[in-house]
Point group: C2
Chain length 314, copies 2
């Protein structure tokens, strides 16, 4: 539904002098100040802003998931979107629709998960809106940041021939990683400052689907080397537990909520990055962008066939 709706919406949105990027990337880039407010040689600071709405039954389950983990996740997914822009987080707003029964206790527990993560990333809780209603829990977070020293990382800009890098193992996040992941804020800032990244986004809806999105924004295609996709231990465990024939690799390709960074980098630059032992997060080179539109899977044998995203669509 969302992609169809966004296609409809984009034809109706007028241009705006305040909007430098978006909608359509992980976050929007706004230049809110009047040009006249600053001398010509001072660039007004850009604001990078993103919002995510999480609902009971889709993103978490009240009753079975610890509300502290739910609150943490609501902030973390927004920080991951800021990481995908290589932005420095600054502030967040939290709005909730709480079921009437036990609303106060639930709101407090959500914040007990939010506050430590906010402190870790020096994010100010700037406000919010607390409501009760006759429905299930809904949380909406808006996070704001500023441009990092290396500039803004966009989805557009991947070039045919660029390598595809990811920052960590993928799949099986439903076993816990969907709540406990570390938003790749510092990693994105560090990589954006040290290396020439052509494009990037965070892997939230499945590796295949998110690479397809990066391709769409960049006007290219991509080949994924199946043998190089780093598979999380949870993907293997989930495959064993469910015993439904979904392989660990398929979990890694399609599960979603990994919140690792997917990056487009020229091959020589990728080689330098892979050799950089000072990075705190493992990088894996899992394929390349190609001129031909479409998404392709390449087996260890070299056999190449189309890959259809099966990832999560909200």
């Amino acid at each position: 539904m969302e992609s169809e709706f966004l296609g409809w919406l984009r034809t109706r949105l007028p241009a705006s002098p305040w909007l430098r990027l978006g909608p359509g990337d992980d976050a929007a880039v706004l230049r809110l100040g009047e040009a006249r407010e600053a001398p010509a040689d001072v660039a007004p600071a850009d604001v990078i802003v993103t919002t995510d709405l999480l609902t009971h039954g889709v993103d978490f389950r009240v009753g079975s998931d610890d509300p502290r983990r739910i609150g943490r996740k609501a902030l973390a997914v927004n920080l991951s979107d800021l990481a995908a822009m290589a932005a420095i987080p600054r502030a967040a707003l939290f709005s909730v629709a709480l079921p009437r029964h036990g609303a106060l206790e639930l709101a407090q527990a959500l914040y007990e998960g939010i506050l430590p993560l906010a402190e870790q990333f020096q994010v100010a809780i700037a406000g919010g809106d607390t409501n009760t209603w006759d429905g299930g829990l809904v949380i909406c977070v808006t996070a704001m940041g500023v441009t990092g020293p290396g500039g803004v990382l966009k989805r557009s800009g991947a070039l045919p021939g660029d390598d595809i890098l990811v920052t960590g193992p993928l799949g099986g996040s439903i076993l816990g990683h969907q709540f406990d992941f570390q938003p790749r804020v510092q990693e994105a800032l560090q990589l954006m400052q040290r290396y020439e990244l052509h494009a990037g986004l965070d892997c939230s809806d499945g590796l295949a689907r998110d690479i397809a999105r990066l391709c769409e924004a960049s006007g290219c295609g991509a080949e994924i080397d199946l043998a190089r996709v780093p598979i999380a231990d949870d993907a293997k465990m989930l495959s064993r537990q469910q015993a439904n024939g979904v392989t660990p690799l398929e979990h890694a390709l399609h599960d979603g909520e990994d919140f690792e960074l997917i990056l487009a980098v020229a091959p020589e630059e990728a080689t330098r990055m892979l050799a950089d032992r000072s990075l705190t997060t493992p990088l894996a080179r899992i394929g390349r962008f190609v001129a031909e539109p479409g998404l392709w899977q390449v087996a260890a044998s070299g056999q190449r066939k189309p890959l259809s995203p099966k990832g999560w669509e909200h």
Copy 2:
């Protein structure tokens, strides 16, 4: 629930170098840029940000309310919060949780109400998050603006002896004004630039409750002259229709969703404002702030007794 929760939360929020005002006012004021990014003689632009979450059954009813009016309201209440800060609106983000059945049509209809209002106030739609779920419609809007030429209007700052002014008639908004009101953005900017306003907020939860909030933020009390409260025609009609003994004046004091401005102004200044025929909105002087804490109603006879807010608490 909300006020109890906010009391709990405020004791747990650490100070932040980015947060110049908030939470606790109609919107937060953020200074996001690093000091080092601008020369010492250039003030970094502040960002004024607010968020409101609206739910089915509380703020609107899907099925009986036109979704275009629902969408418009979701943006308008946020613009009213920016008006309450005398801010210039710049951008908004829209997140929705949509019932699965008819989700696309509903999302489109919401936007058909949002877009004309966004255009009227030159607000860029900077992004959002569109979700479907097994619950009722929830809309969360975050609106961002910049400081107007007259500066920021806060809830704190009312002085004993100040007059209380309101920008329009009150009460009965449930008959339609709750959807069709004009956010007082231009009025706030104009008044803030021309006159010395000590404090202000928008009347969203009932005149009595919102004046009590302004008193709390300013550390004072207030007397309302009952005979001077401007009563909306809808308050009179609602009183007749419901025939439950609630008078038009009680509707004006307690109904909420008027979205008029409540201002604290020195008496001489108030007199000048009331004589200003270039203002597009009628102003009414309805009472005064006093040193004694509490909220008081003053009858035409001069009799003074406590006034308890009965307005809406989310």
